[in-house]
C-alpha cells in the first residue's frame, strides 16, 4: 500500500469518526440541554407543561412548608413574579428562605413546578450564578458578588445538592 493510499485510509477513518461524533453531539444537544428561566420569564413566555428547565430565584420567605415523607413546597420569586415549587427529598445544606436557589424540573398541568433537583450555593452570599445574573439584569443588585467569585476557595464552584438523580456542581 502506498503512502498516498495509507493517508487516504486514515483520513477516511478520521472523517468517519468525526461525522459520527458530530451526529452524536448534534443529537445530544437537541435533546438534553436545559434552559434557565426566572419566575417572571416563565410568566411571560408561557412555558409548556412537561418541558424541562431550570428555575432560579429567591426562596420566598415564609413559603417553605414541609409535608410527610420529606415532601416540601416553597415558592421561588424574583421581583415581578413567583412560582410554587414542589419537591420530595432532602434539601441541600444551605437551602434557606430568602436565599438564592436553582431547581430543575418541569411545570405540571396546574402550573406548579415539580422539581427533581434543587441546588443551593455554598457561599457566604448564597447566590447561584444564574440568579445573580438575572437579578442584575432586572436592576436589583447590591454588592460586588461577581468580584468576589474569582478568589473563591480552590476556584471550583461549590454547590450543595439535594435530590438523588442527575447533578451539577462539585467541590474541586
Amino acid at each position: 500500500m502506498t503512502r498516498k493510499q495509507r493517508r487516504l485510509t486514515i483520513i477516511g477513518c478520521s472523517l468517519g469518526v468525526l461525522a459520527l461524533a458530530a451526529g452524536l453531539v448534534l443529537n445530544a444537544l437537541r435533546d438534553s440541554i436545559v434552559f434557565f428561566s426566572t419566575p417572571s420569564m416563565v410568566a411571560e413566555q408561557q412555558v409548556a407543561a412537561g418541558r424541562r428547565f431550570r428555575l432560579g430565584g429567591l426562596v420566598q420567605p415564609g413559603s417553605l412548608k414541609r409535608g410527610d415523607n420529606l415532601a416540601v413546597t416553597f415558592e421561588v420569586a424574583d421581583t415581578n413574579a413567583k412560582l410554587p415549587v414542589v419537591y420530595q427529598g432532602i434539601l441541600p445544606d444551605l437551602f434557606r428562605e430568602g436565599q438564592g436557589v436553582v431547581a430543575e424540573g418541569a411545570l405540571d398541568a396546574s402550573g406548579v413546578f415539580k422539581a427533581d433537583t434543587v441546588l443551593a450555593k455554598h457561599d457566604e452570599t448564597y447566590m447561584p450564578k444564574e440568579v445573580a445574573d438575572a437579578l442584575k439584569k432586572q436592576g436589583h443588585w447590591k454588592d460586588d458578588y461577581g468580584g468576589k467569585e474569582a478568589g473563591k476557595p480552590d476556584g471550583g464552584e461549590v454547590v450543595s445538592q439535594g435530590g438523588a438523580a442527575a447533578a451539577e456542581g462539585v467541590t474541586r
Binding site: 427529598g89 432532602i90 445544606d93 450564578k129 460586588d144 461577581g146 474569582a150 438523588a164 462539585v170
Partner: protein, 661 residues
C-alpha cells in the same frame, strides 16, 4: 519577615526564569556550550527559589500569621495542623504558587537528569519551560500575590471553606497539578523539536517517561478527586460532568492519546507530526483547565467581566502559548520528515484508531464544556449541558474504543492480521458472552444495556489476560517454560495489560453502581429501622459532639445483614462556627468486599427525627480500583529497562530487548 522573603524569592525565581528563557536560545544559535549550559544552572536555582517561596507560604499558614491577607482569609488558629498545611493550596493564590513550584520542580528534574540529552535540545527544552514559568510568575506577582500584608492584623482568621477541610485536599490538588504541569515537559520537547526542525525515535524515548509520569499523576488525581466528591458531598455521586471535572478529564484523554502515539513514534518512527501536535494540545488543555477553574469564568461569564484582571491575564497566557505554539507548528511541521510506512490493519493502525477515538471523545467533552459559555457570550441565553449530553456522546465513542482495545496488542507492527487476532481473542469473547448471559439471568431491573456493558468490560479484561498468556506461552508450552518467559517479559507489557484491564474494571464498577444502586430516603427517629438491599439499619440515637473548630450532630446506626450484626455507622452533620454557620455532611461508609453502604444526614425535623439518606452501592469501589490499576500499569511501564537504559543510546542497546516482544 517570612512573607517578604517569600515574595523576594518569587521575584528572584522570575528573574532566573527570564534569563533561562533567553540565554540558552542565544547559546544554541551561536553553538556556545557555555551559554547553553546556563539553562541547567538557572533551572536548578529557579527550583530552589520557587521552593523557598512555597515553604515560606506554608510556614506562614502553619504559624497562623494573620497579618498576611492570604492566611487571614483561609486559615484559623484552631484548625488542625494538617489543614493548615493543605489550606495553602485550598485558595487561588496558594494553588497558583503550588502550580509554578511544580513547574519549577519539573524543570529542575530535566536539568538534573537530562545529562544524556543533546546539549542543544536540553537548552531549548529548558528555555521553553522557562517561558511558561515566567508567564505564571508574572501572573502571580501581578494579580495574585499570596504574600500581601494587611495594615491592621486581625486576631483571628476567617477559616478555610469547611468542605475543603478534608484529607482529600492534601492529595487531590497536588496530584492533579503534577499531572497538568507534567505535560509541560512534553510540550517543551515538542516546541524544542519544532525550533530545531528535527525529531527522531530517540526524541520519543525521552518524552515518553515524562508523559507517562504526568499521566500517572493525573489518573490518580482524577480518581482521588472523584472519591473525595463521593464521600464528602453527602449524596453518593462520583462524577458530575461538571466543567471543573471536565477540565481535568480533557488533558487526561489527550494525554492518553499522546502516550499511545509516542509509542508508535518510538517504535516505528511514524506519526511524528501528529505526536508533536498532541503534545501541544495536551498541555494547551491543561492550560485551558487552569483558565476555566482560575478565571471565574465558570461561575459566571459576568464575574469574569467584572473582575477581569486575573481572567484576562490567564486568557492572554492561553492565547500566547496555544496560539503561538500552533502557529509554530503550522510553520515548521513540514520540516519534520515522514517516518515508516504501515498498513491500516497493524499495531500502528490500531494505535491511530485509539488516538482517533480518544481525541474525538475529548472534543465532545470540550464542546459540552465550552458551548454553554460561548452561547452565553454570544446570545445571552443560559443553558446547562448536563450528564445526558455526555452520556449520549462520550459514551458511544468510549464503547467503540473499548471494543478495539483488546485487538491493539494482538496485532503485529507494520502489517497485522485481524482474523488471527480475533481467533486469539476467542476465549475472551466467549467469557464476555458468558458474562452477558450470567448477568442477564441473575439480575433484576436496570437497563438492558447493563449486561452488554459488563460483557464489554469482561472482554477488555479478557483481552489483557490473553495478551499476557500469548506472550508467555501459558497453556501452549510446558509450565516451566511459561514461568521462565513470564520472568523475562518486559515490564511495559505488564504495564499495558494492567492499564487495559483497569479500564474494564472501572467500567464494571460504573455499570454496577449506576444500574443496581439502591437508595432509601426518609425521616428517622431513635429506634426506627430502615431496610435496604438485605441490610437493616437501626438508629440508636443522636448526639452532639464538639470538634476542634466545629460542632457536630452524630447519628449512630446499628447495621445488620441477615440477622448478623456488623459494625455501627456514625454519619454526622458538622456546623462550622468560624464560617457563619456553614455546615458539611460527613457520610459514613461501610465497606463489604468492594461494595459499600453509604449513610448521610439531612436536616433535623421539629419532632426529634432527622432526614436520612442511605445508599447501597454494589461494586462501587471498582470505579476507583480501575484507575489505580491503570496508574500501576503506568508505573510498571515507567520502570521498564527500555526507558531507563535505552534512552541515552538508542541504537544498539534496544534491538536486543525488542526481540522479546
Amino acid at each position: 519577615m517570612i512573607a517578604e522573603s517569600g515574595h523576594y524569592a518569587l521575584v528572584l525565581a522570575l528573574a532566573l526564569a527570564l534569563i533561562q528563557s533567553t540565554v540558552p536560545l542565544l547559546g544554541a544559535r551561536l553553538h556556545d556550550p557555555a551559554l547553553m549550559n546556563v539553562a541547567r544552572s538557572t533551572a536548578l536555582a529557579q527550583l530552589l527559589f520557587a521552593a523557598a517561596s512555597f515553604v515560606a507560604l506554608v510556614t506562614l499558614h502553619v504559624t497562623s500569621d494573620f497579618s498576611v491577607a492570604n492566611v487571614f482569609e483561609n486559615s484559623h488558629s484552631l484548625k488542625p495542623l494538617i489543614y493548615k498545611i493543605t489550606g495553602v493550596w485550598g485558595n487561588h493564590e496558594g494553588s497558583m504558587l503550588l502550580w509554578v513550584s511544580i513547574l519549577a520542580l519539573f524543570g529542575g528534574l530535566v536539568a538534573a537528569f537530562g545529562s544524556n540529552l543533546p546539549l542543544a535540545l536540553r537548552a531549548h527544552v529548558l528555555a521553553v519551560q522557562a517561558w511558561v514559568a515566567s508567564a505564571f510568575y508574572l501572573f502571580i506577582l501581578m494579580t495574585s500575590n499570596p504574600f500581601l500584608r494587611i495594615p491592621n492584623p486581625p486576631i483571628e482568621g476567617r477559616d478555610l471553606n469547611p468542605v475543603l477541610q478534608d484529607i482529600g485536599l492534601a492529595v487531590h490538588p497536588p496530584m492533579l497539578y503534577l499531572g497538568y504541569v507534567g505535560f509541560s515537559i512534553s510540550f517543551s520537547f515538542a516546541i524544542a523539536a519544532l525550533i530545531e526542525g528535527r525529531i527522531d525515535a530517540a526524541w520519543a524515548r525521552w518524552v515518553r517517561p515524562w508523559t507517562l509520569m504526568a499521566w500517572i499523576f493525573l489518573t490518580l488525581g482524577i480518581a482521588m478527586g472523584s472519591y473525595w466528591a463521593y464521600y464528602e458531598l453527602g449524596w453518593g455521586g462520583w462524577w458530575f460532568w461538571d466543567p471543573v471535572e471536565n477540565a481535568s478529564l480533557m488533558p487526561w484523554l489527550a494525554g492518553t492519546a499522546l502516550l499511545h502515539s509516542a509509542l508508535v513514534m518510538e517504535k516505528r518512527n511514524a506519526l511524528k507530526v501528529w505526536t508533536i501536535l498532541l503534545s501541544i494540545l495536551t498541555f494547551s488543555l491543561s492550560l485551558l483547565g487552569t483558565f476555566l477553574v482560575r478565571s471565574g469564568v465558570l461561575t459566571s461569564v459576568h464575574a469574569f467581566a467584572t473582575d477581569p484582571t486575573r481572567g484576562v491575564f490567564i486568557l492572554l497566557i492561553l492565547c500566547v502559548f496555544i496560539g503561538g505554539s500552533l502557529m509554530l507548528f503550522a510553520w515548521r511541521a513540514q520540516a519534520l520528515k515522514q517516518g515508516g510506512l504501515f498498513a491500516p490493519i497493524s499495531r500502528e493502525g490500531a494505535l491511530v484508531l485509539n488516538n482517533l477515538f480518544l481525541t474525538t471523545a475529548c472534543l465532545t467533552v470540550f464542546i459540552g464544556t465550552l458551548f454553554p459559555l460561548a452561547l452565553e457570550v454570544v446570545t445571552g441565553a443560559k443553558i446547562s449541558v448536563g450528564p445526558p449530553y455526555f452520556n449520549l456522546t462520550f459514551g458511544p465513542l468510549l464503547v467503540a474504543l473499548m471494543i478495539a482495545v483488546p485487538f491493539g496488542p494482538m496485532l503485529a507492527w507494520k502489517r497485522g492480521d485481524v482474523l488471527g487476532a480475533s481467533q486469539r481473542l476467542l476465549a475472551a469473547g466467549v467469557a464476555a458472552l458468558l458474562a452477558i448471559a450470567f448477568v442477564w439471568a441473575w439480575t433484576r431491573g436496570g437497563s438492558a444495556l447493563a449486561p452488554l456493558a459488563i460483557g464489554l468490560a469482561i472482554f477488555v479484561i479478557g483481552g489483557a489476560v490473553t495478551d499476557l498468556a500469548e506472550r508467555t506461552g501459558l497453556f501452549r508450552m510446558p509450565l516451566a517454560t511459561a514461568m521462565q518467559r513470564t520472568r523475562g517479559l518486559p515490564r511495559s507489557i505488564w504495564g499495558t495489560a494492567f492499564a487495559h484491564a483497569g479500564l474494564g474494571i472501572a467500567l464494571i464498577g460504573i455499570v454496577c453502581e449506576t444500574t443496581w444502586n439502591s437508595e432509601y430516603i426518609g425521616t428517622m427517629k431513635e429506634g426506627d429501622t430502615a431496610k435496604i438491599a438485605g441490610y437493616e439499619l437501626k438508629m440508636d440515637g443522636l448526639t452532639q459532639r464538639q470538634g476542634p473548630n466545629y460542632r457536630e450532630l452524630v447519628a449512630s446506626f446499628a447495621v445488620s445483614l441477615d440477622g448478623e450484626r456488623l459494625r455501627a455507622m456514625t454519619p454526622s452533620k458538622r456546623n462550622f462556627t468560624t464560617r457563619a454557620g456553614m455546615s458539611t455532611t460527613e457520610a459514613a461508609l461501610l465497606t463489604r468486599g468492594v461494595s459499600q453502604l453509604y449513610v448521610s444526614l439531612g436536616e433535623a425535623t421539629a419532632t426529634g427525627g432527622i432526614a436520612v439518606r442511605i445508599y447501597h452501592k454494589p461494586l462501587v469501589l471498582l470505579i476507583w480500583f480501575g484507575p489505580v490499576l491503570m496508574a500501576l500499569g503506568g508505573m510498571l511501564s515507567l520502570s521498564d529497562r527500555r526507558l531507563r537504559v535505552g534512552a541515552p543510546k538508542p541504537a544498539k542497546a534496544l534491538r536486543g530487548l525488542q526481540a522479546a516482544e
